[in-house]
């Protein structure tokens, strides 16, 4: 049994009265590709945001590689509003900013593409290496770090080659077609040298053809970079193709989990999410 990389424990995220994520528990094991699916507004993106530190959960905690990286309990205004369970189980606040979590080895892409718009593809990837630099302001300014800089540049070029983006290396990232932009976002996330890669709807806006390419691609990078992948997606072809396991979320609660076959035949999931004839 491989050890789990990510573990979300009793996580609840509440915005005012809206419970976006409700007492969620899940695990992602090393080397797996795990998908998170569910109807719109089920709380998938919110779950990602909790995991990556964008939001501090109202209650619950997140473990990464055996360390507790996020923990919170209802306090302040939330104390009165809190509707979830496990109230009182947690008593610490650990709320690192997203950059700290990324540094630990977790990287993500966004549902709405967020590339740095005035930068080329190469620069987008290179900037993501910043968190791995050991040079300080002084040594960086006066180029005392040229060895490291050179190494990072080479790594980035290598990454672009693997991601088949070397052809557009010096184009402005945001001038590329959608599909390639998604790939640049993935490359950028990989440049931070993560152990766990979180992808939020990587195939959104892609046509079936491109979606197929992406499917193959995700498998490839998992193997190449020895990653664990956790992804959100509405394209069922992709999800069913590559997932080792799937979690299904509805109204903030996990309603099912299992292998693709199990999920595809789960009546509750079909009713809530998949619909009868799976055409998408």
């Amino acid at each position: 049994m491989s050890k789990n990389v990510l573990k979300v424990e009793n996580a609840t995220m509440q915005f005012g009265g809206v419970v976006a994520v409700d007492n969620m528990n899940l695990e992602v094991n090393e080397g797996e590709i795990v998908s998170l699916i569910g109807p719109n507004g089920a709380g998938k993106t919110t779950a990602f945001n909790v995991i990556t530190g964008v939001y501090a959960p109202s209650n619950g905690c997140v473990w990464f590689e055996g360390d507790k990286i996020v923990e919170n309990y209802p306090h302040g205004k939330m104390q009165k509003l809190y509707k979830g369970q496990n109230n009182g189980k947690y008593s610490h606040i650990t709320a690192p900013t997203p950059d700290r979590i990324t540094k630990l080895g977790m990287a993500r892409t966004f549902q709405n593409i967020r590339l740095w718009k005035s930068q080329t593809v190469f620069e987008n990837v290179l900037i993501a290496k910043h968190l791995r630099t050991t040079s300080n302001l002084f040594s960086a300014t006066f180029r005392l770090n040229h060895a490291e800089e050179k190494r990072q540049r080479e790594e980035c070029d290598e990454l672009l080659r693997v991601m088949e983006l070397d052809g557009v290396r010096d184009e402005l990232a945001t001038s590329l077609p959608y599909g390639q932009q998604r790939r640049v976002e993935i490359a950028r996330a990989l440049a931070t040298q993560p152990k766990l890669l979180l992808l939020d709807e990587p195939a959104a806006g892609m046509n079936p053809q491109e979606t197929d390419e992406l499917t193959a691609f995700i498998g490839k990078i998992r193997d190449n970079f020895k990653l664990t992948v956790f992804l959100i997606e509405h394209h069922m072809d992709l999800v069913m193709d590559i997932s080792d396991r799937i979690y299904v979320l509805d109204f903030g609660k996990l309603i099912a989990s299992g292998t693709p076959e199990e999920i595809q035949n789960n009546q509750r999931v079909i009713d809530a999410y998949l619909g009868v004839s799976n055409d998408a």
Partner: protein, 291 residues
């Protein structure tokens, strides 16, 4: 009480004038996301226009005329300096505003030779009256009432009419607002009409108290009014008004307490403290950007 009353009165009066000016800032900001640096100068121009108008015509003609001319100027500034830059980076529009402010100031300077002009005495409102043992002019009392009435009217206008909703929609996204059929240019013009009109009224109240007009006299009240707008949460009209009164009254008391050296500094200090506690001002909507 008799020690405090005069300061309170002058504070409320100045506050009301700041409030009237700051509405112009806050409305333009609300819709164009632009700090209209030229607003303080439009206020000054209104003062100068009154100086010239009152010299040749009776008040019942000159006062409305000045308001109309100021409104025309306001709209003109928008058409010349801001409209061509609708799609330009925000910083450019800001610079255009600063440039316009320069242009207005320098032109006034050129025309007046940089000398102070005496503001005409407006009958009735500048008469002296006695309040609780202190002599003050009638304008001191009128200002807060007028301000509050105008603001209530304005808030109704924006809350209850379609143009109010259109303004809020346009403030975030011109293109999509246009896709809903909003005539963005008209909405913006409307904003400038209201803003400049209020600045003209404000200038009459202000200069009635302060006697002379110089080309740069609007700069400080302009800045204060802007601070008032930020203070109240920029974009919010009631916020601007409350901000204006708070700043006016605080200032007056600080001068009363003989910390005059720091009366401006205090205004800004207060601003920084407020923003530190509430980063979007007292009534500003806190924007949650979803990722």
């Amino acid at each position: 009480m008799s020690r405090i009353l005069p300061y309170l009165l002058s504070g409320i009066s100045v506050g009301g004038q700041y409030a009237l000016i700051s509405i112009g800032y806050t409305m333009v900001y609300g819709i164009l996301r632009l700090i209209n640096f030229a607003h303080g100068d439009i206020f000054t121009v209104a003062g100068l226009l009154m100086v010239y108008a009152a010299a040749t015509m009776p008040l019942y003609i000159s006062a409305p005329l000045v308001i109309i001319l100021t409104i025309i100027l306001g709209v003109l500034v928008e058409k010349v300096a801001y409209k061509p830059l609708r799609t330009a980076p925000r910083m450019s529009v800001m610079i255009s505003a600063i440039g316009m402010s320069y242009l207005l100031q320098n032109t006034m300077w050129y025309l007046t030779g940089g000398l102070a002009k005496k503001y005409p005495t407006l009958p009735w409102i500048s008469d002296k009256i006695n309040v609780g043992g202190t002599t003050t002019s009638r304008v001191t009392l009128i200002t807060p009432f007028l301000t509050v009435i105008l603001v209530i009217f304005l808030v109704m206008l924006i809350k209850k009419t379609k143009i109010g909703m259109a303004m809020r929609a346009a403030s975030r996204d011109f293109e999509t607002a246009q896709l809903m059929g909003v005539k963005v240019d008209s909405v913006v013009s409307f904003t400038f009409i209201v803003g400049s009109g209020l600045a003209a009224v404000g200038s009459m109240l202000y200069f009635t108290n302060y006697a002379t007009v110089t080309p740069v006299v609007g700069a400080m009240p302009g800045l204060k009014a802007f601070v008032a707008a930020v203070f109240g949460g920029i974009g919010s009209i009631p916020g601007a008004v409350i901000g204006g009164f708070i700043i006016g009254i605080c200032e007056s008391f600080i001068k009363g307490a003989s910390w005059t050296t720091f009366s401006d500094a205090f205004t800004f200090g207060l601003l920084i403290v407020i923003l530190g506690v509430k980063p979007t001002g007292l009534f500003g909507e806190s924007l949650t950007e979803k990722v």
